[in-house]
């Protein structure tokens, strides 16, 4: 019983609650109705408090309705539509975050997922709209192209790190910018533009190149989500059950010992960045062959950066990352509904998300706030955290 009260699960739940409260306060403070009623707060405080409650709760209800279950939906499909939307958004996020997590486990801080997604998406899209191949084969090649594109871009970071010692943080940041400019350029040349148009937008990918919808045309959710599940499983297997994962984890937690045991640290850097890039490239395919179906300069949205937070929240474990990805997907999907239904600016979602991560990362703070007893085990061992991330 005691364990449940002080346990991690409770802390996580409370962290979410805290973050939602903080976000709610922010929503209420900036609400016009609240501002209006606050002018006579001392005369009738209940008006303002009521308005504040209404503002915050309506926003959150919309958030929930937009991400999990829409009780106002006319059909069952419409009711569960939000959930599928959440999973759709989560798909690229999970893939890219897996890449970031993998790199973390090998001691590298990969800020370059954004660029890797872009290059993966570019290559995948190109194969998707300029080659015309039979069903099955085409999609397969699109996926492969995405993986190769991302892997190249990520591998470059690993290679430079291994060969010259260039810091991966610098190189990966810089390559993000190079990637975006590259795709901006490509979208100005006819090979990437729609015939007869000079807009920086590619033709739609062939039908054969796209992930088929998972539950029919009513839903946006596509087979990319299944691929994301497989990728998560793959990452789990790779990290925990394969020799490569063993090498990567060894390199990440103690490169000296890894070297002494005959594991090449530099090779490890290259391999992990290739894999990280490949996963990010996969995220790119989920965009071009799944949700967006075309290539534009904004194809990666902010997935590459969100992926870092997702990976950290998932403590760099594959299934943790998967769960965190779904959570963030829910916020993203629900945020859209919240904005359209209640006019609450979607940025609030970022605030709530980041507060959740902060609170979850600091259980003692949550315990202090809720006056929970400390758990028995106190001898927290200092963990090296410089580059290994939450490799727990």
């Amino acid at each position: 019983m005691q364990r449940i009260v002080t346990g991690n699960a409770l802390v996580s739940v409370l962290a979410v609650v805290l973050a939602l409260i903080a976000g709610g306060i922010l929503i209420a403070l900036t609400n016009e109705e609240v501002a209006r009623t606050s002018s006579y707060f001392f005369a009738r405080p209940q008006d303002m408090l009521g308005a504040a409650w209404t503002a915050a709760s309506e926003a959150y209800i919309a958030l929930f309705q937009g991400s999990v279950f829409n009780s106002d939906g006319s059909t069952f499909a419409r009711m569960i539509y939000p959930l599928t939307q959440t999973l759709t958004v989560a798909t690229p996020l999970i893939c890219a975050a897996l890449g970031v997590a993998l790199a973390f486990r090998a001691g590298l801080f990969n800020i370059g997922a954004q660029g890797q997604i872009i290059i993966g998406a570019t290559l995948a899209a190109w194969v998707g709209f300029s080659w015309h191949l039979p069903v099955g084969l085409h999609l397969l090649l699109v996926i492969l192209a995405g993986i190769v594109g991302g892997a190249l871009w990520g591998g470059l970071v690993g290679l430079l790190k291994a060969k010259t010692g260039a810091h991966e943080v610098i190189v990966s940041i810089m390559l993000n910018y190079v990637a975006i400019n590259l795709v901006l350029y490509l979208l100005t040349i006819p090979a990437f533009q729609r015939p007869g148009s000079t807009n920086p937008i590619s033709p739609q990918l062939d039908e054969t190149a796209m992930y088929p919808p998972l539950f029919g045309d009513t839903f946006r959710l596509h087979w990319g989500f299944i691929v994301a599940i497989l990728a998560t499983f793959f990452a789990w297997w790779l990290l925990n059950r394969s020799t490569i994962g063993f090498e990567l984890r060894a390199v990440g937690s103690n490169p000296h010992a890894a070297r002494t045991a005959g594991i090449s640290v530099t090779k490890g850097y290259v391999i992990v960045m290739v894999l990280a890039g490949a996963l990010a490239g996969l995220a790119g395919t989920a965009q071009v062959a799944g949700t967006e179906q075309v290539l534009t300069a904004g194809v990666a949205a902010s997935f590459g950066f969100d992926a870092i937070t997702v990976a950290l929240l998932g403590r760099s474990t594959p299934w943790g990352t998967f769960a965190a990805g779904v959570l963030f997907g829910a916020f993203r999907a629900g945020g859209v509904t919240m904005q359209t239904n209640t006019g609450t600016a979607i940025d609030i979602v970022l605030v709530v998300q980041s507060l959740i991560v902060l609170f979850i990362a600091a259980p003692p703070l949550v315990r202090t706030i809720f006056r929970l007893p400390e758990p028995g085990q106190l001898t927290a061992k200092p963990r090296k955290t410089a580059t290994t991330g939450g490799a727990a």
């Binding site: 100005t188 937008i201 946006r220 534009t296 949205a301 902010s302 999907a333 359209t340």
Partner: protein
């Protein structure tokens, strides 16, 4: 067949109370001092003038387009207005799936649109041509400049028109006014890479001024505010620099440096948007594209306001002549980025 007709019968005023007009921005948001904002203002005007209800969805990233349009469809909008070519595919799809809803899209048209979509597009180059001519005629240093947010047609169409205007002036007057920041032939020039970073707008503008340009046209939404800052500084420093604003009349909307705004290349989107909605509430929706031109007043050159004296009367009358020539087709303003209908 256009499905919204049934709603059109009856008196407009009574009908209008139920009518919902909705808008989805592209990733620039409604405060972009550019087409999102103008379109949004058009919808707001419709709300006031026609008494309709409105809903809005601001997209943060391209991934939001689909869900946002979808949310609008769910919200039972009568008219969904989308902004920018990036929303083209999403609009096309949603329109095909929801024939009972009407759509309008700003700055994009597509032959595959179903007939419940009305494209609202602009031949901006026509007005920019006038601005280029005016700038070339007014420049003291013989150098004018332009830069863009990104190398996309809705931006470069301004730059192409401006370049042609400068060229036309050079030909007419056998002058040699130089344009920095854009080469129409190679379609290559200066771009800040986004529509947000005002600092870069300022730096670029100072670079242009250092290279001798004295009239600068930023085509980059809020980034242009950086140009205004740079021009304020340059004038304080004893230089004589001016700005050509775009989209709206900068003298009215930019909020600063009015005294240095020579003129503006206006794209009067608000009016067009309100018009389209008005026609729809009256049940007269049609899907033929609206093309803003000098002729129909969809695009125009703003007054010179404070700098009226800086522009010679000759130039003013030449501008009138040119405007007529463009309208009549005697002068052809061509841009790769001109809307293909």
């Amino acid at each position: 067949a256009p499905p919204a007709e049934e709603g059109g019968s009856g008196s407009p005023a009574a009908e209008a109370t139920d009518y919902r007009g909705c808008i989805v921005s592209d990733s620039g948001g409604f405060d972009d001092r550019s087409f999102n904002q103008s379109s949004y203002e058009g919808l707001k005007m419709a709300e006031q003038d026609l008494g309709i209800k409105i809903s809005e969805a601001e997209s943060q990233a391209e991934t939001d387009f689909g869900p946002n349009v979808d949310a609008m469809v769910q919200a039972d909008c009568n008219m969904i207005l989308t902004v920018g070519f990036l929303l083209g595919d999403v609009t096309k799809e949603a329109a095909a799936d929801n024939p009972e809803t009407n759509f309008a899209i700003v700055d994009y048209s597509d032959p595959e649109f179903t007939d419940n979509v009305k494209p609202i597009i602009y031949d901006t180059a026509q007005a920019a041509f006038l601005a280029g001519y005016a700038a070339a005629a007014t420049s003291e240093t013989g150098k004018v400049a332009t830069y863009g947010g990104m190398n996309i047609p809705t931006v470069t169409i301004f730059m192409d028109g401006f370049a042609d205007g400068v060229d036309y002036y050079n030909k007419q007057k056998d002058a040699n006014v130089e344009l920095l920041g854009w080469d129409k032939k190679s379609q290559n020039g200066t771009f800040v890479g986004n529509f947000e970073d005002q600092g870069k707008g300022k730096t670029n503008t100072l670079n242009f001024i250092n290279e001798g340009a004295d009239i600068i046209m930023p085509v980059a939404g809020p980034v242009g505010l950086g140009t205004l800052d740079a021009v304020i500084e340059a004038n304080a420093d004893g230089k004589d620099a001016k700005v050509v604003w775009v989209d709206s009349d900068g003298y009215e909307t930019a909020g600063k440096a009015e005294e240095f705004i020579l003129t503006s290349v206006m794209k009067l989107m608000g009016n067009a948007v309100e018009d389209v909605i008005k026609t729809d509430t009256e049940g007269k929706f049609d899907s033929t594209p609206y093309v803003g031109t000098l002729e129909n007043g969809g695009v125009a050159l703003a007054p010179f306001h404070d700098l009226d004296a800086a522009v010679s009367d000759d130039t003013k009358s030449e501008l009138e002549t040119i405007k007529k020539a463009i309208i009549s087709g005697d002068i052809k303003v061509e841009s790769k980025a001109s809307p293909q209908q």
